[in-house]
């Protein structure tokens, strides 16, 4: 009987009771990740201290101790019980881990041990290379740029060091007026959502409609492995459309009656007013003279007015001898003989 018990005890001692399943790609990313391991317990339920020691080239960096840790039979995935404490040693590597939760680049050794209170302890060590990823930097279209293309190509710098089985994913959304870019990503349906990109560039997808002139867009690239986000780029925005000329001018149409009563009009290249014509369609009969020199300007653009309401916009930008910051008088000769004069200051710089 005693021999059988002895043999069983010996057998128990020879078997490794607890195994720690450490996967470098997953478990070396951060301090938290060190604890996201699976612990296999071949024996019965046990209680003890779970200890994790990390060293770099023999120099200790961090130690995590989980006292009164309850290990059940079989697979333990949740390190949820006991009292956990973490301590950092006094060196640069440890200081960086303590401030950021991540390991700086280098070779490390991690040892997992289970110091059982009642039975045999187990210990397993692994080595891993901590890789610090280069930021995911976007390249084109550049931040806050105004681009002329409605189907632009997107480009970014690849991430180093290269990550196994990782692909890029690009999302482009429209940013509505008054919306912050992050809110645009949350509340707007994506215009482009392209996954599994192998290259560091995306040609504008054929299946997506062209972007629209005048609209603002935001985009972001993420590096993914399966459905895990490894790293994301900043959010960059750009605006489509470079037809700047027409949008510069503020087209407000005031009644010619009001304007001719002495309101001061500042023309930024156009003279705009609203005019009611009680007669049939005709050409607007008007002259423009400088305020002090007298001679009316020549080659003024033809303006057609129709019967009824008219929004008249006279484009003076190409009229010769219009001088910046000079004052002019516009005289309109109405069909019924009435005359309307409007004095304006010309503020268009060619």
């Amino acid at each position: 009987m005693r021999l059988i018990v002895l043999l069983l005890l010996l057998a128990g001692k020879l078997q490794a009771q607890v195994n720690f399943v450490f996967i470098p790609e997953i478990n070396s990313r951060s301090v938290d990740a060190l604890m996201n391991i699976k612990v296999m317990n071949a024996g019965g339920t046990d209680l003890g201290d779970l200890q994790i020691d990390v060293k770099q080239k023999g120099i200790p960096v961090v130690r995590i101790i989980n006292k009164n840790f309850r290990l059940v039979s079989g697979m333990n995935t949740a390190l949820r019980n006991g009292q956990m404490s973490i301590s950092f040693y006094d060196n640069q590597v440890a200081r960086i881990v303590r401030q950021t939760g991540r390991f700086s680049e280098g070779e490390y050794e991690v040892c997992y041990s289970f110091n059982s209170y009642h039975s045999i302890s187990s210990n397993e060590c692994y080595s891993f290379d901590a890789a610090v990823l280069f930021p995911l930097q976007l390249a084109e279209p550049f931040q806050n740029q105004n681009i002329c293309e409605l189907r632009p190509d997107f480009q970014w710098n690849p991430v180093f060091p290269a990550v196994n089985n990782a692909t890029y994913s690009l999302v482009l959304v429209e940013v509505k007026p008054g919306q912050a870019p992050q809110e645009a990503f949350a509340y707007n349906l994506p215009v482009i959502h392209q996954k599994y990109i192998n290259t560091n560039m995306l040609i504008f997808p054929a299946s997506v409609k062209s972007l629209e002139e005048g609209k603002k867009y935001a985009w972001r690239v993420s590096l993914m492995t399966a459905e895990t986000v490894v790293i994301r780029s900043d959010i960059w925005t750009f605006t489509c459309g470079c037809k700047e000329e027409e949008e510069r001018f503020n087209f407000v149409f005031k009644d010619i009656e009001d304007l001719s009563k002495g309101d001061f009009y500042v023309s930024n290249g156009f003279v705009n007013f609203y005019l009611k014509n009680y007669y049939s369609d005709t050409d607007l009969n008007y002259t423009i003279s400088p305020i002090n020199a007298g001679k009316p300007l020549k080659n003024l653009p033809k303006v057609k007015i129709s019967k009824g309401d008219n929004k008249v916009s006279i484009d003076l930008r190409n009229v010769k001898n219009m001088k910046f910051d000079s004052q002019y008088i516009l005289t309109i000769h109405m069909v019924n003989g009435d005359k309307k004069t409007l004095r304006f200051v010309y503020k268009y710089e060619k």
């Binding site: 951060s30 301090v31 938290d32 990740a33 604890m35 989980n66 949740a78 390190l79 949820r80 006991g82 956990m84 404490s85 973490i86 040693y89 006094d90 640069q92 200081r95 960086i96 303590r98 401030q99 950021t100 700086s104 680049e105 930021p135 390249a139 002329c148 293309e149 710098n157 690849p158 180093f160 290269a162 870019p181 992050q182 809110e183 990503f185 949350a186 509340y187 349906l189 994506p190 959502h193 560039m201 040609i203 504008f204 054929a206 299946s207 409609k209 459905e227 895990t228 986000v229 790293i231 994301r232 002495g262 500042v266 305020i291 002090n292 020199a293 007298g294 200051v345 710089e349 060619k350």
Partner: protein, 779 residues
């Protein structure tokens, strides 16, 4: 004593002598007719007009004060008649479908408005799901103060009662008084002259031109008008005829008849002289007046005041101040005139330094301003996987999960050149590594970041900006490794312990020279290896960078030229040497060659190298681009073309192969309006010129036509062809239809069908079918 002397206390920069001598008569006239107060106001107005920087803000302040004094608050309608009012604005839904084995999503959106004491808030609930991604769905909601609507309501209450606006307009009296002064001076002058034959000379003047015309006419115009109105040619012809008659009938006429004729001729000739004399007087008087009043300056001052009038009550600050003083409001309404931003729910948050980034759930953000002081605070749970595109994500190594709170204060006047800002952010986080594992035992941390930022003005337009930030991180349950004693739990205890490691700083200089149209900028920055802002991920720690560049605008808005050079060094290992370097150079230009032709282009180069064991290249790219946009006019239509040519070479090693690509990309786009419709053609071609393909050769062509159908529908039809060489060759059609009924319903439908001409090797990227429908209903 001149009036200017009496106004000593109100005259700042211009010397009294200038005003007193020049305007004395004008002031005297105003004083006599309207009183001393008016004369004083005129002096102030003239000063405003004469000073180089015209600032009329005091006019608004004075007007508000006067309205308050005269009419009081009772004349304005109360804003708080209805306490609570809820209104549903819009409900919309959208459904997006790719080909059956692809991706499909359904989204609903509800927008409403809630009015509390007439303070508007918008409510938004957005629900979306992606049928093929593990049946997940998500709801995002937010509640926001609609500041623009509130300001609009305040403004309409203010201007509904005309008194403020009328007061402001009436302060624009300078021109009116100048007109009267001209009228008065001219009349006085004319009355003082005795004309021989001309009666009612002042009536003649009044009929010849209005006082406005008199102010703007030149000598010739004045002369012509007077002469014409006096019918001088008629009189002159009469004289000629009578003279002729006399000479012809010299022998016939009796003496009395010839005497009377001679008399008439004399009177007429005197009249002609008088008219000419009157004209001369009118012209001379105007010359003197113009000189004494500096009429041109007054015109330009008036035009600026008109701009101010139309602009001032459109500016939020002015509306808020006027409302606070004139409108009857309760405490909450008054508080909300100071609020810039108030939102809750799933939102982004704003601080004044950029420390608080990202998106948050169950969050709140409030920012208020009072004159130069701005405060913002808020908090919420970190959320990096929001949005439809994030539904499938199960784990995140980029950002932790947890919650944060922050406070930010900024002091700045309008131009921000002296802006000072401080932000403090506190976050309790843990790495959200995986949703599959339970995190209870995972190390929780407290992360604090403090940032200070200050602008220093340089020259007339330049700014030097200095930014200093420090971070501190504290693990919960940290013990001292030697004694086993517990460390303090909050990061605050860590601040200052590891200064250099946890510091991030940046200095930048930017300026603008209007003379050379040049805007230079320089930036230098450092981030310690231990610097960590939980909201920003790990992107910048352990780096040093410098950045130089400038932008030059060409004259006459012809275009611009931009250049930037940036070097970034990264230290990713614990020693002090740099491990990586990223060097980039960017340049681009835009040039408006003529009204119809515009050129653009650029060169971009980027290189990433490792610095360990010497320098070796990890990644290199050179990218050249040139584009042209032009309008071509034909007899009765025109087209707009856009051509873009890019060439880039990329070199780097991947895990499985080496990339050595020389890629040529061409884009051509031509569009033409056809009546009120639009036709366009788009062609895109990229080809690998080297041996090894990195980006596959691709040819895309699309011909589309956009048109309106029956006034309310806009439609688009397009034919497209894409050939991703070796992978797919498709020919397709796309039809879109939009209906916009301004009042209630609008919808958008789009259907895209592609037919494979060869076997399709990538149905994910090139689906055969894509449909999209969205409907919205407004209440």
């Amino acid at each position: 004593m001149s009036y200017a002397d009496k106004l000593n206390d109100t005259i700042p920069a211009i010397s009294n002598k200038e005003i007193s001598t020049q305007y004395n008569d004008f002031f005297a006239f105003i004083q006599e007719k309207y009183g001393a107060d008016s004369a004083r106001r005129m002096a102030n107005s003239i000063l405003s007009v004469m000073s180089p920087v015209m600032n009329f803000d005091h006019e608004l302040k004075d007007a508000i004060f006067e309205v308050k004094r005269i009419t009081g608050k009772d004349s304005y309608t109360s804003l708080y008649k209805n306490v609570v009012d809820v209104r549903l604005n819009e409900v919309s839904a959208g459904y997006l479908q790719f080909s059956p084995d692809g991706f499909s999503s359904l989204a609903h959106n509800i927008d409403g408005h809630l009015y509390l004491w007439n303070i508007p808030f918008s409510l938004n609930v957005f629900q979306f799901s992606n049928v093929f991604e593990k049946n997940k769905n998500s709801v995002l909601k937010n509640f926001q103060f609609d500041r623009e609507d509130y300001i609009r309501r305040l403004k309409s209450n203010l201007t509904g009662n005309k008194s403020l606006l009328n007061h402001l307009k009436s302060r624009n009296e300078l021109f009116t008084y100048v007109k009267e002064y001209y009228q008065h001076t001219l009349s006085k002058k004319i009355k003082s002259i005795s004309f021989d034959a001309l009666e009612n000379a002042d009536q003649l003047i009044n009929h010849s031109f209005s006082i406005e015309e008199y102010l703007t006419f030149n000598d010739q115009q004045i002369n012509d008008r007077i002469l014409k109105n006096a019918n001088i040619t008629v009189i002159q012809n009469e004289v000629i005829n009578k003279k002729k008659y006399l000479s012809d009938h010299q022998s016939d006429l009796n003496s009395s008849l010839s005497d009377s004729l001679l008399n008439e001729i004399t009177i007429s000739e005197n009249k002609i002289n008088d008219i000419k004399r009157l004209s001369t007087i009118a012209v001379e008087t105007k010359k003197q007046l113009d000189k004494s009043i500096s009429i041109n300056k007054i015109f330009s001052g008036q035009s600026k005041y008109a701009d101010f009038l139309s602009g001032s009550l459109n500016q939020a600050e002015n509306i808020k101040n006027a409302a606070a003083q004139l409108l009857p409001m309760n405490g909450i309404q008054r508080f909300f005139t100071m609020v810039n931003n108030f939102k809750a729910g799933d939102i982004s948050e704003e601080d004044y330094t950029g420390t608080v980034q990202g998106f948050f759930s169950n969050a709140v953000n409030l920012s208020v301003s009072k004159s130069d002081h701005h405060f913002s605070f808020g908090g919420g749970a970190l959320n990096d996987s929001y949005g439809l595109s994030n539904l499938a994500e199960t784990a995140n190594q980029h950002l932790p999960s947890g919650n944060m709170q922050f406070f930010s204060y900024s002091k700045f006047a309008d131009d921000e050149r002296n802006r000072f800002t401080v932000t403090v952010m506190n976050a309790n986080i843990k790495d959200a590594y995986s949703q599959l594992f339970n995190h209870s035992a995972v190390a929780k941390r407290n992360n604090m970041v403090g940032t200070l930022e200050k602008n220093f003005p340089v020259n007339t337009a330049g700014i030097i900006n200095v930014e200093l930030s420090t971070s501190a991180n504290q693990f919960a349950n940290e013990t001292d490794h030697l004694s086993g004693n517990a460390q303090k739990n909050i990061a605050l205890s860590q601040i200052g312990v590891d200064v250099f490691n946890t510091l991030s700083s940046k200095i930048s200089y930017s300026d603008y020279s209007p003379k050379y149209k040049l805007a230079p900028r320089v930036q230098v920055g450092y981030t310690g290896q231990g610097y960590y802002n939980a909201l920003a991920g790990n992107n910048t720690r352990g780096s040093v960078f410098y950045d130089l560049g400038f932008r030059k605008d060409f004259n006459r808005s012809k275009g611009l030229f931009n250049i930037q050079y940036r070097n970034n060094y990264y230290n990713t290992s614990a020693d002090s040497r740099f491990d990586y370097m990223n060097s980039s150079f960017n340049s681009n230009f835009q040039y408006r060659y003529s009204k119809n032709i515009r050129w653009g282009g650029g060169y971009h180069r980027s290189a990433i190298n490792t610095l360990r064991e010497g320098k070796s290249s990890l990644y290199k790219i050179n990218r050249y681009s040139v584009n042209m946009n032009n309008n071509l006019y034909f007899s009765n239509f025109f087209v707009n073309q856009h051509i873009n040519v890019n060439y880039q070479d990329i070199r780097f090693d991947r895990l499985t192969d080496s990339v050595n690509s020389n890629l040529l990309l061409l884009n051509y786009n031509v569009s033409a309006p056809v009546g009120s419709n639009n036709a366009s053609l788009f062609i895109s071609y990229n080809k690998e010129l080297g041996d090894r393909i990195y980006i596959n050769n691709l040819f895309i062509a699309e011909l589309s036509y956009q048109y309106t159908v029956k006034k309310r529908f806009t439609a688009g039809s397009s034919l497209n062809y894409n050939n991703d060489i070796g992978i797919v060759k498709q020919f397709g059609i796309r039809q879109t239809l939009s209906f916009l009924n301004n009042r209630k319903i609008s919808f958008d439908v789009s259907v895209d069908y592609k037919h494979d001409l060869i076997e399709n090797l990538n149905k994910y990227l090139y689906p055969n079918f894509r449909g999209n429908i969205s409907i919205s209903y407004k209440f």
